[in-house]
Amino acid sequence: MSLELAVAAALFVGVIAYAVLGGADFGSGFFDLTAGSSRRGAELRTLVDHSIGPVWEANHVWLIYVLVIWWTGFPESFAAAMSTLVLPLLLALLGIVLRGASFAFRKYAATLAQARLFGIVFATSSIITPFFLGTVAGGIASGRVPLDGAGDRWSSWLNPTSLFGGVIAVGTCAFLAGVFLVADARRSGQERLAEELRVRALVVGAVTGVLVFAALVPIDRDAPTLAAGLEGRAAPLVALAGLAGAVTMVLLWRRRYAVARAGAILAVAAVVSGWGVGQYPWLLVDEVTITDAAGATATLQGLLVAVGLAVVVVVPPLAYLFRLTQSEEWSRPEH
């Protein structure tokens, strides 16, 4: 594997991690928004709060990781994407800012009225963010970001591939969140809530699955390079996504929640990897390849050192955090 490819792979691991881990946090906003009135939704909203509270900031850092590796490893393509896709990126950023702030505010809000206000902002921005990040992915994957950064600032993300990308991002986030929340509800002994979430997760899963495969039709015409990749090199991943998604649905149906989480992660990771492998070797599709977009060699080597260091110093505490959140002591309610 060449140096450029190794750095691109490290970057894409970040994209997958953000899509899965950050995605599950964003997806919980969908369930929060549709939880019903304050009284009816209180139990679910408390669960959301408890599930993502300890981990959302750590999961958010994957986005920073992606941005930093991108601008350091492939600077020109980063500047180009930022310039062309400025509008969806700003809207996603708005969602990121409002989501994080209002989530923290809601947790410590004094009154129900305040909690309601912050809660609505939290939940809506949790849906906005993945949508616009999805349109960004669509813009890049359909070859609408020229290397000089002078792409059309509207049609680069208002196009079939982008719109499907946005909706699929929202769907996969909600699906992940649904599966994770069901498991969390079961672990903390909230069986009634788990039943309710199970049905909704099944619906979300079915809709998202249909969307993912329906998107292949418009992509075929709108993003031929990506489509060729999806039908060729990435075809096994597309099949894997379908299979893992279907298995997850069965597991949910049969109330095997703990195992279902693995299936959901695999399914979403396969969808995202399908995009990545599908557009390989392009970094900006039809514009610049990974090799041509790469920055200075010494910097790429430095980045691999940083990534290696991350594996050693970040992954163990991250695993510790996740293990703690899944433990018995952490599952009982606070205070």
Binding site: V68, W71, E76, L112, G149, A298
Partner: protein, 467 residues
């Protein structure tokens, strides 16, 4: 000074050369950086204070200290959340506003950001563990979970300052026919200039956070709440702030060494040196109007002594530097002197406090001192902001000193970029209001005797509200 036709020509050149998006982009960056920097200071300095307080609580079995540590942890949860998202804004803006910088020099300046990202990762992980670990982990292990955050604060701040130091004194690459070659990213991470600049910011962060937190308890004492809780809550951050405040003048002074070589225009602006005078006076206040210094109080010789470490070596004047390379002089000068003035005042005040304490006089009994202590936090914020304005505005018109001018770096935007600034002002105001409302309500409930702050939408609470 200049002939009228030259002035007209220059003005014409300025309007022609300046992209419409430049000013709104700079203001946008100033707003988001200026807002984030306050929270970044808490991110850097607060964990060490929480750790100290928590450790006092465990060692002395002191319930007051434990309660303080627990409350501070909850406050930090709110502050770090908005700190994390406002920091993300900066990551986006690097590319959105300054594609010329990132596209050209991304692989030169990027590596420190990668290590900063690692530090941020660890900080976020241990924040989660520490916050949710109360009562769920053995106390002795739990208290250690905040320690990595104090360390990552150091690493993160160092890395960010490495990039800023690089913008002031670029290194680690060569320009050959306009092409960036021979990139040495490690030279950017480990250059000597970084270390001093980092030390200045790190110490400043402890001043800002320490004085601000101590000020909260000073206000409490002013309102008659003079219990062990308030005294301890004041003293721990005040000790941190005191050490930082007396260290800072020396660090700042060392940072100034050689500025006449590195960035003569910035030094001339700091010192308001229009012409080269030997020995140079120290100019307190004053502004430059039409090339003439007005309304300043000049102290002879002191300028040479402080800025040049010499009785008569002159500060090189602005007249030795081409007009096109001048920064906005007055803003730079006034911001610099605001920083130095407040820093000196705070250093003197803490020395006085501890001196009096040694003599057995407790200034916490004096209302005037408590009022001052309450104001010290906002003053430290102003000093820090002024310091950043001084160094950033003083670097203009360069984004990378001597290599790339700010107009070359800005994205291709029309004046409609002002809309973004307008929206950002609204959002940052709302976030500020939200944080203040929530933090004040937390303090109010704590005073009312609530130990834990349950989720307001938890079932039992909801039924209460509906009653």
């Amino acid at each position: 000074m200049l002939a009228p036709d030259v002035v007209t020509a220059l003005a014409h050149l300025a309007t022609e050369a300046e992209p419409a998006g430049l000013l709104p982009a700079r203001q946008q960056m100033a707003l988001s950086l200026g807002w984030h920097i306050v929270l970044a200071c808490f991110g850097v300095a607060f964990p060490a204070m929480i750790f100290t307080m928590h450790l006092i609580g465990i060692r002395r079995k002191d319930p007051v200290a434990l309660e303080l540590a627990k409350r501070w942890a909850k406050v930090s949860a709110v502050l770090f959340a908005i700190g994390a998202v406002s920091g993300t804004v900066l990551s986006f803006e690097m590319g959105l506003l300054w594609p010329g910088l990132m596209g050209t020099y991304g692989d030169v300046l990027g590596l420190p950001f990668a290590f900063e990202g690692l530090a941020f990762f660890l900080e976020a992980i241990f924040l989660g563990i520490y916050l949710y670990g109360w009562g769920r982990m053995p106390p002795k292990r739990h208290v250690l979970m905040v320690l990595p955050m104090a360390i990552t604060g150091v690493v993160g701040a160092y890395c960010v300052l490495a990039v800023n130091a690089w913008m002031n004194a670029p290194t680690g690459f060569r320009l050959v026919d306009g092409e960036v070659t021979d990139v040495q990213p490690w030279a950017v991470l480990f250059n000597l200039q970084t270390f001093v600049q980092f030390a200045h910011m790190w110490v400043g962060a402890y001043m800002l956070a320490g004085f601000t937190i101590a000020g909260v308890y000073a206000v409490g004492m002013l309102r008659g709440r003079r219990d062990a809780h308030h005294r301890l809550g004041f003293l721990v951050p005040f000790v941190f702030a005191s050490i930082a405040a007396v260290t800072q003048p020396f660090v700042g002074h060392v940072l100034g060494f050689g500025l006449d070589e590195r960035q003569p225009a910035k030094l001339a602006a700091f010192e308001l040196a229009e012409t080269t005078e030997s020995p140079s006076p120290l100019r307190l206040g004053g502004v430059l109007v039409d090339g003439e210094v007005k309304w300043s109080i000049d102290i002879p010789r002191l300028g040479s002594l402080i800025a040049m470490n010499s009785p008569d070596k002159p500060v090189p004047g602005l007249d030795t530097i081409p007009e096109a390379d001048h920064p906005p002089v007055n803003l730079t000068h006034l911001a610099f002197q605001t920083m130095v003035g407040i820093g000196t005042l705070l250093a003197a005040a803490v020395v006085w406090f501890w001196f009096q304490r040694r003599r057995g006089r407790d200034l916490l009994e004096r209302r005037w001192f408590l009022r001052f202590a309450a104001a010290a936090g906002p003053l430290a914020v102003i000093a820090l902001e002024a310091g950043w304005i001084a160094t950033e505005v003083g670097r203009q018109p360069w984004i990378v000193y001597g290599v790339m001018r700010t107009p070359e770096a800005v994205g291709d935007y029309t004046a409609s970029l002002w809309w973004l600034l307008g929206i950002s002002v609204v959002i940052y105001t709302a976030m500020t209001v939200g944080a203040v409302v929530v933090l004040r309500s937390m303090a109010r409930r704590w005073r009312a005797g609530e130990a834990d702050l349950p989720s307001p939408y938890a079932p039992e609470h909801a039924s209460e509200a509906n009653r």
